[in-house]
């Protein structure tokens, strides 16, 4: 019996909530649009930052420096350097490459190896390829490696790594600022839309109080109104985000050196993006409706 009653009530709340969404179509549509816009802006920055993060992880995984071995060292002492190099902080692993192997690799990369026919491997140095754990520490690691006796020079492509790290940090800060600002904006707009409903229904609310409705009973239809709008906005934003993301990654794939940037396919992220979007819609909906109704529940 009790259960039947509460199902009965929930049906009533949802019906009331939904009907007031339709009765101010324009306000509701604008509120939903604002939520969608906010979510897509936040989502786009977050997705860009996730992609840069993945890019950095990829660079980190094959990020390498080349440590050249001093010419004066014998092959044996050069090989013995491995232990010294591994002792340096942040060094993950090292790989010894002889000057002959280096020459072969160099020639392999040339379109016309015959040009270098007379060149001896002795013009090159024996070298180590050094892999690091943390790409952000790579510069300090470089300095430390230079101190190792028997190492003549270190070469690394630091500019790329630095650029990417800076880009990620900037995008991350922008994302966080946007998430905060746009959340406040969404809740504010949502709250004002529902305030319109509470204002239109102030007489109904007064009647409800007069006949002995509890505050929570009065509150529920408005909460459902916010909830339906928030979840609906979240779902639409998710679908739009999917479209925009796919379009953008196709464009980037078509117009850039495709191998340099690996874009994470959207379908690999659905499991995170969908719950986040729906969750954000849910919170904005609840937050907006509670802040809208609180003034009416004082008497």
């Amino acid at each position: 019996m009790k259960q039947k009653r509460s199902r009965n009530k929930i049906g009533y709340f949802i019906k009331e909530g939904a009907s007031s969404i339709f009765s101010h179509g324009f306000m509701s549509v604008s509120a939903i649009c604002v939520i969608i816009a906010c979510l897509i802006i936040m989502g786009s920055f977050a997705l860009v930052s996730v992609n840069i993060g993945a890019q950095i992880a990829k660079i980190e995984s094959d990020n390498q420096m080349i440590a050249y071995v001093d010419d004066v060292l014998s092959r044996e002492s050069a090989i013995a350097l491995e232990d010294d190099l591994l002792k340096v902080e942040n060094v993950a692993s090292v790989q010894f490459v002889t000057r002959e192997q280096a020459m072969d690799e160099f020639l392999d990369e040339q379109e016309d190896p015959s040009l270098f026919d007379g060149v001896e491997a002795s013009v090159l140095e024996d070298r180590y390829i050094v892999y690091v754990d943390d790409v952000e520490q790579i510069e300090a690691t470089k300095v430390a490696l230079e101190q190792v006796e028997g190492i003549s020079d270190i070469r690394l492509q630091l500019d790329v790594a630095n650029g990417i790290i800076t880009a990620r940090n900037v995008v991350m800060i922008i994302s966080i600022v946007l998430i905060i600002v746009l959340s406040i904006v969404s809740v504010f707009i949502m709250s004002n839309t529902i305030k319109l409903t509470t204002f239109e229904r102030r007489e109904e609310i007064a009647v409800m109080k007069m006949v002995g409705a509890t505050d929570s009973f009065i509150r529920w239809p408005f909460v459902y109104e916010g909830l339906i709008m928030g979840l609906f906005g979240g779902l639409l934003a998710f679908l739009l985000q999917w479209g925009i993301y796919t379009l953008m990654s196709d464009l980037i794939g078509a117009y850039s050196i495709a191998t340099l940037i690996d874009i994470i396919p959207f379908r690999n992220m659905i499991q995170y993006v969908l719950p986040v979007f729906l969750g954000a819609g849910f919170l904005v909906g609840i937050g907006g409706s509670l802040s809208a109704i609180k003034n009416y529940l004082k008497v």
Binding site: N8, E204, K209, V211, G212, F217, V299
Partner: protein, 248 residues
């Protein structure tokens, strides 16, 4: 049952609307509360419905002590009252049936209970054939009967009506009063605020007269006594001036 003991009410703006009112209304009574405009009648009603809190004094309504009552309990106190206003306060976009059913839904009644009870109450107020109409398709008297049906539908112990006939012509007013009398005869306590002397004097009921926030008479003698006090312009001297009988 209502017990008011030495109740004072001053509004935030300093107006002292009620100045030491004590009265008891027993279960099953029919009481008129009369007095000129601004004398504090509506304030008494608002005190009883918990819309305003007394500044001092004791106030008990249907066993709820309004001095101690918690906000969470207030709705349950209000369910023991059925309130009716001069301006009907119907929800314009709901039909007659829905307006009455709404009051039941709000207190958590099941659909089955609602389907059983609403037609019965509409029958009682004589609106069985207008259930599907909207309030603005009805006359004032009919709208007030919808409001009465709504006030009755949750079976309150007491009906409180603040100038229920203020917007109606005399013959409709009489109909409404007769309906309230019928409801009282069915067992519900009725407290009706009015300043229509003719109407009050057609019923032989208890009349509490109030002026300047004080009770100036309380008895079965009709509105006439009170009126003469007001005309003489005498400030009420607490309970002294109560039963000054004047020849008609």
């Amino acid at each position: 049952m209502v017990v008011m003991t030495d109740v004072y009410k001053a509004y935030e703006n300093g107006i002292r609307a009620i100045n030491g009112v004590s009265m008891t209304i027993n279960d099953g009574e029919f009481v008129f509360l009369v007095g000129p405009s601004g004398s504090g009648k509506s304030t008494v009603i608002k005190l009883l419905t918990g819309e305003v809190a007394p500044t001092s004094g004791e106030l008990i309504v249907n066993d709820f002590d309004l001095n101690q009552i918690k906000p969470k309990t207030m709705p349950y106190m209000r369910r023991t009252l059925g309130v009716i206003f001069q301006d009907f306060r119907l929800v314009e976009k709901k039909t007659v049936y829905e307006n009455v059913a709404f009051a039941m839904r709000v207190v958590g009644a099941s659909n089955r209970e609602i389907r059983k009870r609403v037609p019965y109450v509409l029958e009682l107020v004589g609106l069985s054939n207008k259930q599907k109409m909207l309030p603005n398709e009805l006359s004032g008297g009919e709208q007030q009967r919808v409001a009465i049906a709504r006030a009755l539908v949750n079976n309150p112990k007491m009906i409180i009506a603040d100038e229920p006939t203020g917007n109606l012509d005399p013959s409709r007013s009489l109909e409404i009063m007769l309906l309230l009398e019928k409801i009282n005869e069915l067992g519900t306590t009725v407290l009706t605020v009015t300043h229509e002397r003719e109407l009050v004097n057609r019923f032989y009921k208890r009349v509490i007269a109030i002026d300047n926030g004080r009770i100036i008479s309380d008895g079965m003698d009709g509105y006439y006594n009170y009126e003469s006090e007001a005309e003489q312009g005498t400030e009420a001297e607490e309970n002294e001036c109560e039963a000054e009988t004047q020849p008609e």
